[in-house]
């Protein structure tokens, strides 16, 4: 596997932070009410069935912990559904299962509280995957030749 699973990048300049705050005003308007965005600045919504993974108490980016209770409830807040339970359900519904096989990077905490849109524009983080075609075929491909696949 590739060794680049830590999000890195140039340091954010004070000027960029200012712009980021302005862009964030608009980003928040959409992402907070609809997705419950936690402003991690390193958005992976598109690969998690458009359910924000950062609402997980452990902020897991790579799937559910081992404590999901019967019926898909969170072990920490038993009145809530496990975020990853929802992600799985939604991904299956939308035909985006192949994206769940991706190893998501270790979070870059410098990006916390910055605008993910600007971070995509500045190429600090990967662009979202809007459309997924032939999801089932893609899953099969991932499973059959994972040895040759790059991460």
């Amino acid at each position: 596997m590739s060794n680049n699973f830590v999000s890195k990048g140039k340091p954010i300049t004070p000027g960029e932070r200012k712009i980021s705050r302005i862009v964030l005003l608009f980003e928040d308007l959409i992402k907070v009410p609809i997705f419950g965005c936690q402003r991690c600045g390193e958005c992976i919504l598109s690969s998690t069935g458009f359910v924000c993974s950062q609402r997980c108490p452990k902020r897991l980016r790579n799937g559910p912990c081992g404590g999901t209770a019967e019926g898909g409830y969170c072990e920490v807040y038993p009145e809530r559904k496990c975020v990853w339970y929802k992600i799985h359900k939604r991904s299956r519904l939308l035909g985006r299962m192949s994206l769940l096989y991706k190893l998501n990077n270790i979070h870059n905490w410098n990006l916390e509280g910055t605008s993910a849109w600007l971070n995509v524009f500045m190429k600090r983080i990967a662009a979202p995957a809007w459309f997924v075609r032939n999801d089932k075929k893609k899953v099969k491909e991932i499973l059959s030749n994972d040895a040759q696949r790059k991460n």
């Binding site: 596997m1 060794n3 699973f5 830590v6 108490p57 452990k58 902020r59 897991l60 980016r61 790579n62 799937g63 559910p64 912990c65 081992g66 404590g67 999901t68 209770a69 019967e70 019926g71 898909g72 409830y73 072990e75 920490v76 038993p78 496990c82 990853w84 339970y85 799985h88 359900k89 299956r92 769940l100 096989y101 190893l103 998501n104 990077n105 270790i106 979070h107 905490w109 499973l143 994972d146 991460n151």
Partner: protein, 297 residues
């Protein structure tokens, strides 16, 4: 032979587990280690399990090492950020500890100090990848190390928690991130375990990593009730409960069930060993190993 060599040789592996004490009394570990000498190929040392403060897993592992037992340190992401994780791993390697089980860790709410801040800088899959990267000679900063560690990387799997589909995806990701062996949560329901295992074999994951099935001998039916009610992500077969309920000697029945399970695991394709977790009942380890006809050491 080290655990790594034993896995490569194809031997059916027996792992044990010791929970360090809630004090600085290292003799407790020495005492418990007696039961694992010659009965287990390697012994897991828990890392503040269920978020309760205990003697450090690396220090305990060193004590085990001095007793002539091969330790597997558990490393959770709850208590350390990436700096501490790498530093602790380098320290462990310097002490001669070469097996690490990468875990996310139980949430701090379940422990003795629920007010604590959970770190979760990495998750278990990223931790597996991080250790694999260290094995290749680099720190997460991409700086090359003068001497590279040689860890045998382990990870956990829980075949019993919802959503079951995701469990296989996570297993797949852990193997792809570089896990050499997988220890499952204790099995109390063979049907679900079998289904999970069939899927793992179908994807060929059993060839890329050694899967060890979890066995937890229980002393009484109360322990099962407790787990069913209090521990999320555990599924217990009704037959198991009724057998324990109706047993005239529950301890003996507990051992019998554990032995039967081990014998079943030996016949299941892809299972390369067992991970026996005699929580608070370490003395039963030699009995189970003997009755199940396992060899170790």
């Amino acid at each position: 032979m080290t655990l790594k060599e034993k896995i490569e040789s194809g031997k059916f592996i027996v792992c044990g587990e010791i929970g360090p004490p809630k004090s600085c009394d290292g003799d407790v570990i020495k005492e418990k280690s007696k039961y694992f000498k010659g009965t287990a190929d390697a012994v897991n040392i828990t890392d503040n399990q269920t978020a309760v403060v205990r003697l450090s897993s690396i220090a305990s592992a060193k004590i085990l090492l001095d007793e002539g037992i091969e330790p597997i340190i558990q490393m959770t992401c709850r208590d350390r950020n990436r700096l501490a994780i790498q530093s602790d791993l380098l320290g462990a390697a310097a002490l001669g500890i070469h097996n690490v089980l990468c875990l996310t860790g139980d949430y701090q709410k379940f422990g003795d100090q629920p007010e604590a801040k959970g770190v979760f800088d990495l998750d278990s899959i990223q931790l597996v990848a991080a250790v694999a990267k260290m094995n290749s000679g680099f720190l997460l900063s991409d700086e090359e190390m003068k001497k590279k560690p040689d860890f045998l990387i382990g990870a956990a799997a829980n075949p019993f928690a919802e959503p079951l589909d995701m469990r296989i995806i996570r297993l797949f990701k852990k193997v792809r991130a570089g896990a050499h062996f997988i220890q499952t949560q204790p099995v109390f329901d063979m049907n679900i375990f079998n289904k999970w295992m069939e899927k793992a074999v179908e994807l060929g994951l059993h060839e890329k990593c050694a899967i060890f099935a979890g066995v937890m001998p229980v002393k009484s039916v109360k322990a099962l009730y407790h787990m069913k009610k209090e521990v999320p992500g555990v599924k217990i077969n009704e037959e198991y409960i009724s057998r324990m309920e109706n047993a005239s000697d529950p301890k003996e029945e507990g051992v019998k069930i554990a032995v039967e399970m081990i014998q079943t695991f030996r016949r299941i394709k892809g299972v390369r060993g067992v991970h026996i977790m005699p929580m608070m009942w370490e003395s039963i380890m030699p009995v189970i190993v003997k009755e199940a006809g396992l060899t170790a050491g």
